[in-house]
Symmetry: C2
């Protein structure tokens, strides 16, 4: 029997995968890990962040710090007006952010209605302008319980629409969709992510509060991985 | 054989249809007709218009004039920054708008990438904030040839995503999707639409140019209906 061997040249894929990507970068742990992940895979990444009327800009400041560390530019888009149109305790300074874990019903007030479609659709316009057809988004399974627009059913439906929005078929890529936050942190630790330059807390204080839903989720994830979170908390 | 009769009370639908709607109102012929159409059907309409970096604001000015005439408020959302992110001859003052009909390949430069998903997703956030679950959009068949994000396949896919974006199922309603522009004008004439308060021309001159793709389409539609377009054109 003849042994078929192939040269390295023959093994090269017929079509080179386009390794350029737009990434929705919030400055939190998940999207920051995905940025490192894509860079380590050889992607040319164009990160994009949004000021959409959040109560504070700590996340965006951290996104800028991470990009600066990696020698990347960051497109920061100011759609503050969106916060007035779409009321939520995350965007209305007057409302209190509820304390407690994501499982609590009162966390619903932190939902900014249809936020992710707004941000991803603008990120897609940005990608199309650059002739890039990959849009990455670090949704993960921890968000599914509380945020409808982080759930797989929504993301898959949105992905289908994005494939049809232009002459170019846009790929919405969500590699962490079924991962837990601890899986993401574990990967990030391996990639050398500087988590001191990531912000999760809903409050915008000098130090993270350690008590809101996203602080609790983050602290639990680091505990599960067995690593101390390098971020400073009010009560350490 | 017994004749079954029903009282008026019994004929009343079990669930009252929610007759509140957010409408994407550009100030052109199609969305203005749909506004009149919805008002005539008893809808409480919340129109929303966008300044997204268009070369001129004639359409939005006309949208305001129509709403004022109908005694309705208009939510005008300024996302001018979008025009810088998503290059197009409709949003970049430096580029010339091509002359000729929609069928011409050069009209592609007027496509603002993924514009409709951006506008509809923000309109949906606005609707959700008001607890309204109907979002109306006056896409019609004349746009299908040139604009990917006006095609039924895209609109149906986007509609599925919008049903999943929140705890509330949002309905994306596009009653003119398979209509020609002349069908829309014909309906509008019956509804008493004041088409002198609508603007279609890509240019923002004192009078409409009569030569760009959208002027040609509009003039042909009025001709087909057998009515004179009340808008003033440069060369009448």
């Amino acid at each position: 029997m003849e042994v078929l061997t192939k040269s390295r040249e023959e093994l090269k894929p017929l079509i080179e995968v386009d390794k350029r990507a737009v990434l929705l970068l919030s400055g939190g742990t998940d999207s920051t890990t995905l940025l490192y992940d894509l860079v380590s895979q050889g992607y040319e990444v164009k990160p994009i962040s949004f000021i959409y009327g959040q109560r504070h800009k700590k996340e965006v400041q951290n996104a800028l710090a991470t990009c600066s560390k990696l020698g990347l530019g960051l497109e920061v888009v100011d759609i503050s007006i969106f916060g007035q149109l779409a009321p939520s305790s995350l965007t209305s300074r007057g409302k209190d952010i509820p304390k407690g874990g994501y499982e609590d019903g009162n966390m619903r007030s932190t939902v900014v209605p249809n936020r992710n479609m707004v941000l991803l659709s603008i990120a897609t316009s940005y990608a199309l302008g650059l002739r890039i057809d990959n849009v990455f988004y670090a949704a993960h399974s921890g968000d599914h319980a509380i945020y409808p627009d982080c759930r797989p059913a929504f993301i898959l439906a949105l992905g289908k629409a994005l494939k049809l929005c232009d002459y170019i078929r846009v790929n919405l890529e969500t590699p962490y969709m079924y991962w837990e936050k601890s899986d993401i942190i574990r990967r990030g630790i391996g990639l050398g992510v500087d988590y001191s330059l990531t912000w999760s807390c809903y409050e915008g204080g000098e130090k993270a509060c350690g008590k809101c839903g996203t602080c609790i989720e983050r602290l639990e994830a680091f505990k599960k991985v067995g690593i101390k979170d390098p971020l400073e908390y009010k009560e350490d």
